[in-house]
Each structure stands twice: as C-alpha cells, then as structure tokens.
Amino acid sequence: MTSKKNGLRRVVVTGMGAVTPLGIGVPDMWAAMQRGDCAVGPLSFDTQDLYITIASEVKGFDPKIHTKSKLVQLADRYSWFASAAAQEAVEQSGLEVPFKNPYRTAAIFGTGAGGMNTTEKSYQDLYIHKKKATHPLTLIRIIGSSAAAHIGIDYGIKGPTYATCSACSTATHAIGAVYDYIRHGVIDVGVTGASEAVICYGSMRVWQALRVLSPEGCFPFSKRRNGTVLGEGAGALVLEDLEHAKARGATILAELLGYGASSDAKDMVNPDIEGPKSAMRDALSDANLSPGDIDYLNAHGTATAINDVNETRAIKDVFGQHAYKLAVSSTKSMHGHLLGAGGAVEAIACIRATQEGYLPPTIGLTEPDPECDLDYVPNEGRKAKVTYTMSNSFAFGGLNAVLVFGPPPA
C-alpha cells in the first residue's frame, strides 16, 4: 500500500452521519434505502394556498435528543441536522474530542439556503405579529456559516472553518475542499458535508413559483416524471489522511479517490452536457480510474424533465459502452431532493453500496422515459459486487461536482 497518490496524500473516510427523511442516522437511512422506502408525503404544516403540497420531511427529530450541544439546540433547524450528522460521524471515527492538533483540522460544512425557517419566523414576527424586535439569535440562526461554526466549537476545530454554497452541489464541493486540504498536507482531519432545512411555507411558495416541483412525487428517469420533490436533512463525513488514520488504528470505511468540479457558465436553470461530462472525467482521472472501473453511480437524478435526460446523455458520453453495464440509481426517488445536503447523503449511499455489496434502487420507475435507457436499478435494490462508485451533483447555475469513492486501501 502506498501512502501517496499522484504525489499527494491519500484521503480516507473514517466517519459518516446522516439525518434524512428516510431515517435519522446512517443505519436507519441505509436500511430504508435497501427496502426501497419512500419518504415523500403530505406537508406536515398548514399548506394554505399552496398547490404543491408534498415534500420529503425529516420526522421525529428532536434537537434535545439528537444533538448534545446546548448552543446548537438554540440554533436553526438546519444547524440541528448538521450537528446531529456530524456527531454521528465523529463518534464513528473514534477521534478524541476535542480534536488533537486543532489547527490541523477543518470544519467545512455547507448549506444552500441557511436558516430559512428562522427567516420566515422572524418576518412573521415583524410584519404579521408586529413584534417590537426579532429574537436576539435570529441573525446567528440564519447565517449559512453557523452550522460549520457550531461543529468547529463542538469538536475544537481551529483550522479552516466555513460553509460552501453552490445550491445542489454544496455538500460535494465541501467534501472536495476538505479532500484537497488533506491531500495537500494543509490539515489531517476534516468534518465535512452539508445541511438543508427549507421546507416551510414561504420557501415552498418560492419553489412553486419556479415551476419545477412535482405535485405528485419524485420519479427519476421515469416517463411520468414531472418535477422534483423538496427534501431536507444533512450528511456528514469525517475525512482523514490515510497515514493519520492508520497511526491511530482507526477503522477505515472507504477511500475518497477522486474529485472533479466544473461550471457550465451558461444558464441558471437549464443544465448543459459539457460541464457534467468534464466534472465526471476529471473525477475519474483524479482517481486514476477508467470509466469501466466504476460499478455504481449515484446519479443527480432530480426527476425534472431536463436533468434526467441530460445526465443520461452525459453518462453515455463519459462511459461509452460501459454506461449500459454500470448500475445508476437516483436515491432521490426515496429521500427527495435534499438540495445542498444531497451530495453528502448520496456519497454515503455510495460508500454503503461498496461496504454491503448492494445497489440502492430508483423507486417509482415502472415505465422509463425512452430517452433514459440505462440500468437505473428500477424499483428494487439488489446485491452486486461494488468496488468503485461515483456520486454526481449538478446545481442551478450549472455548478457541477463529482466524487469517486473506493474501498479502504488493502
């Protein structure tokens, strides 16, 4: 086993955490993915005049139970999710808390929209309830960097600490940033991922106005797909320098082998094919792998009319004939679109697929779109030998980020 790749340090995953509509904690989430559960359902609040009345919400989350920090318990819902996911990941990593060598650690944790629930409540207080002041913590709750800061405070992280923000590629960019810091020797350990909690009335109105949500459900690659479904939650990874992990006898869950990022520089909503292709190719090349080495691809697969066809075409261009042998699935069919957090949860699905030798399905795929003709692992998951995986994240604005994972180094 060499400890350097392309002359750079190797980066491994030693902890994972998730808060998702399919379950709180990676074991519950993964079990639900294996069963092919669907977390999409009617909105849990008064929908008033909304005509989009479904989403994929995290149920049964109680910050007093699921987070340890009193500070976090006073924060926005998006920070609760981030904190709970990070806590699970750090506990699994076995790292001593507070982290040793704190300036050699990082907390890079993104969010697409920050504390949207707090924003809504504070405007209600001001404009409807005519309150004299907003809650003193309103600003701290709203800002998109508060989750990263909370994680830093909880674990004594004193190196680079900030949030990424790139809509639906937010988590993937955060993970990529920590990966780069570790392999270039800037830090040894990083807690990364992203969180999102935007399922509230005002936010639903904003999404409804963009006309991209389905009133019925999230059916990626299906002929009947008619838009995405909003989800919420967080995913967290502990990334670590391979030698650092070995020296402390850590259990290594996976290796992060490649990262590719690109921008379409074209349109705010319509994806292009060149950007996604470039990001996938860069991630493969960074991993020193050929397209034929990838066994499973967790697609961005949003179930919008345009994404699924565009992504399918991009996969075919990058993978050639192997595109038809490769298993591709969109777990969004089960957990909805976690927006900024999606990339982290989907990276965890990739890692679990390799660990368990199991391909999570694309549910609701009874009749595929004729233009989507790959193996999307329809309706039921299945056992398979899975060594290398790829996770795609493509965002509004044409911001693309792709990760490649492999098994723990032999």
């Binding site: 005049d49 005509y51 106005a209 963009l210 006309r211 991209v212 949500l213 389905s214 009133p215 797909r225 008619n226 838009g227 349109d267 705010m268 909503v269 319509n270 919008t304 009319a305 345009i306």
Partner: protein, 89 residues
C-alpha cells in the same frame, strides 16, 4: 383581438429577447424563442395581471401552452372560474 389577448401578447413581448410585432392567436410559443425560465416569468406576470393562479409546471408540455390562443383561452376560463375581474391595469 380582445383585451385579454392584447394584454397577454404585451406580456409575451416584454419577456422576449427579440420582440416581434406579428404575434397572433395562432402563433406557437415555441416560435417565440421563449425558454423555460422566461415562461415561468410570463406565467407569473399573467397571474399577477389577471388575479388568477395557473398551476404551470415547467416539466410538462401541455396543450394550454402550445399557442398564444391556447394561453388566452386558459386565462379566460380561469378568470371566469375565479370570479376575478381581470381589471388590474
């Protein structure tokens, strides 16, 4: 052309990158070089102008959005159903 049609054509022109003057009820929206985000803004303007709600979905190709005339018909039926006056200038 009636008032509803005139207002809708004005809204279409406002959102076209290269507005043209020969728009009629039979003009196909696909001939107007309107992209999905433009259409979302057009629908918003129409809703605001006529005080109605159109559950338009950018993921679906529907008959209501094939031609200028089909949009006008849909708006008229929604205005009638909602009892809105459509009088907002």
């Amino acid at each position: 052309m009636d008032d509803v049609a005139t207002k809708i054509i004005d809204i279409l022109k406002k959102h076209m990158k290269e507005p043209k003057d020969d728009i009629s009820l039979t003009t196909a929206l696909s001939d107007l070089k309107i992209e999905s985000l433009d259409l979302a803004m057009i629908v918003f303007d129409i809703e605001d102008t006529f005080g109605i709600e159109i559950p338009y979905n950018a993921n679906e190709e529907v008959e209501d959005f094939k031609t200028v005339g089909s949009v006008v018909d849909r708006v008229k039926s929604l205005v009638a159903a909602s009892g809105a006056t459509g009088a907002k200038a």
